[in-house]
Symmetry: C3
């Protein structure tokens, strides 16, 4: 799709300065951009890269200039860039039509415009909303519900009964709704605790490749609308995640923990069972939250066991200076002796 700078500026709510008829056909980084690619600048370092770019049109924040370019002026250039990119470059279709090799149970109900790729399997009583695309080799278990305009990339598994809202995107290899990890030890062995609850994924959630989200044991695992989950994340039974949170790669959240809204969790974080990470908290990469712990709203924590970032940094700084402290201690001891 080709648009003019004027059309792009209007779509993005940006102020146009320069050639309103300049054509824009794509988006790019400053280095890889051709003349028709739109770029954006939001930092001084980014500005330097843009100054070298071949791009003719630039999303620029107030206070910065780039001579000889058509400027689309906006307070949040990166946000505008993301919006324009989604508009200019709609995602490639994951599937087109219903492939004849897809096995779809007669009791499954597919909405208008649903596409299903080759070798996908859709079991009985599944419901799929309008415009949803199911990739090749996906498995959608009995009774699962998938909302409108979802995108399941190839090789996704939804266990029986899993529920996805609208506009959910699930990447290849993700598994949603598998049994939680719960056992009762007795008579010399582990007995499986029932894992028969549900899993509900809210609207506009994105789930990364090979991530795993277990169904509830007796109740429901819930991921709130707008939350984004990276590759290889593990979410255990009964976990509740609020809306618009971010969970980076390889993080694990244990049973029954609650994560609030707009929480940001770094990569490889471990959250034990029964924790409560309140709204807006930030958990640094690799941090570990011990069983039952609450992190207050808006707090930033790091370390294992996690503590407020400022404290952790102070403690860690002294940890690094331990050899020096020991020297000072020895000196005092010698002076005494």
């Amino acid at each position: 799709m080709i648009r003019t700078a004027r059309e792009i500026a209007e779509y993005a709510g940006a102020q146009l300065e320069g050639d309103a008829a300049a054509q824009i056909s794509g988006v790019a980084s400053p280095e890889s951009a051709g003349p028709e690619d739109l770029i954006y600048v939001d930092t001084a370092r980014h500005w330097e890269r843009a100054a070298e770019s071949r791009a003719r049109c630039v999303l620029l924040p107030p206070g910065l200039e780039l001579a000889g370019r058509t400027i689309l002026r906006t307070v949040q250039p990166k946000l505008a860039f993301a919006k324009v990119a989604a508009w200019l470059l709609p995602p490639q279709a994951i599937a087109i039509g219903i492939h004849p090799s897809a096995i779809i149970a007669s009791t499954a109900r597919l909405g208008d415009g649903v596409a299903v790729g080759p070798y996908a399997v859709i079991e009985d009583e599944v419901e799929i909303g309008d415009g949803t695309q199911i990739g090749a080799q996906c498995f959608v278990g009995r009774g699962a519900h998938i909302g409108e305009r979802c995108r399941l990339y190839p090789r996704v598994t939804l266990y029986a009964g899993a529920r996805l809202g609208k506009n959910v995107m699930v990447h290849s290899g993700a598994v949603i709704g598998s049994d939680g990890f719960g056992y009762v030890f007795g008579e010399g062995k582990h007995w499986k605790f029932p894992q028969i609850g549900r899993v509900e994924i809210g609207d506009e959630v994105e789930i990364g490749s090979n991530a795993t989200i277990d169904r509830g044991a007796l109740d429901t695992t819930r991921i709130g609308a707008g939350t984004k989950i990276d590759n290889l994340v593990q979410i255990a039974h009964n976990v509740q995640v609020g809306e618009h949170s971010i969970i980076a790669a390889q993080t694990g959240i244990s049973g029954s923990s609650r994560i609030g809204k707009q929480v940001v969790i770094g990569g490889q974080v471990g959250i034990a069972d029964g924790c409560h990470i309140r709204d807006g908290a930030i958990v640094g990469a690799q941090a570990g939250i011990p069983t039952g712990k609450t992190i207050p709203a808006g707090e930033t924590v790091w370390g294992t066991p996690a503590r407020p970032l400022v404290k952790f940094k102070e403690q860690y700084a002294w940890f690094a200076r331990l050899p020096e402290l020991v020297d000072r201690l020895k000196k005092l001891e010698q002076q005494r002796g």
Copy 2:
């Protein structure tokens, strides 16, 4: 299936107090239970939740009462609950019969009642025991052996020659028997060390979604009977895991390490190569066990590098108080100066 309280009590070995004819059709948490759901109580907090429940029948330990309910009295209510749940609610079939789209080599030998889902691929000389169910889109490589009554959920891979015992459950996306990670550096590159050993999974093992268990390099990787492995766990070549151990999500066990019986390993634990975690040891979440280290039987360890939990906690408490200790040190220095 509907049972009476009397039948349930008999099955669970519980003492019945109340309406022997009360009907039980399911199990639930106190909050979600309907009148015909069985619930259990094993802590005071659990008791409070049960007191609000609509459930008519409750598994209760000695010493607790719940007025107006039919009580199934037992010393281990949670254990009884797990057993009753498995009896009342047999797991849904993963596959029924041999789906015509399954590709099964003519030299594969399938036992009685084996079910294979759509688009599964079963290669030459595979043996599958009676009553085993192979989900849709599974791949079972040449010469693999699967015991009786196993359950492979959709999209599981068994590499050639992998061996599973009886009653093994494998969740979607798990990969069993892939090459271990071993190279020899020489002449400027990494040469692949042969990864041609075996992998043997004991009876009643459960393996989580997207977990990976490598074959041995020259010998055998072994998982003992009754051991439970959570999602996204990595088990490297030649690892030996004993019976009835628990390995929580995202833990990694490196080459040739040995894990004893009834060991409990928390989530995101890293165990380097050549370690020995003896029977009954407990390794706290995110702990790291350095190369070649032995953890004594029954010991609980935490931290990286891991140490006995009591020591770690004491050390960590002082770590947290380092700024205070430094103040005290400064004070002494000033008084001297």
Copy 3:
């Protein structure tokens, strides 16, 4: 394949001492070897195991003897063993011919001798080099390029446009080219930053089971030739990994980080965004590298945040002795008071 000791010695560049006609049909560990299996010795402990072995032929370094065996003398026995193993035991075919159930777009171009397993899906404009084998149930997205003699085990996903060099091996469940994890927060929600870049995997790279490698956001994610990546590793958008590096299981590398040549990264390491790990550096297991940090060439680091190994060990030793240091501090305080 059966070879004589003379042939093996010639192939491996080893000096033969003993029965040149001894037959060798396989390789094994000392314990599992039969008479016709080749074994190797490279440490004193290994020598003890070899002395008990039934193997008739042994790769041995200068200075060691094993009575009654045919010796293949070489400076690097383990390296020679790896080379001989690859020669004697070529890997089993992943697929033979084009299975009739494979769905291959008419615009895909397959080289000579390409094999594609059952239920694999190969989309439009894919190019596959001579001799490459694509396992059952793999998905190769539109426009992907795969070089010569690659081996994709069953159930691998290549997203549209992914590029693999020659002799690349990808294990089951791996996902290459999925969207990176990038969003811009605005107007109360996370907007997806475009994830439309490329992913390029160099020659002779090996990628483990269920590993994930994201495409670039706007530019390219690159894995250098000869680099080996273990199971469940996560590599984010725009990461650049040099040649002949080693990345052990469950490690995560965040956006835009650069890893040099011949870097060794242990298991469960976390590397934040924008880091630079220079050539030949070694990062210990579970270490964490904070955002933007550079690790100098050849340096060995450990801990979170990572620091030089020697420093970390000294600091950690004092950490372990903190209770003792506190006692000494108290003593000084009491003597003063």
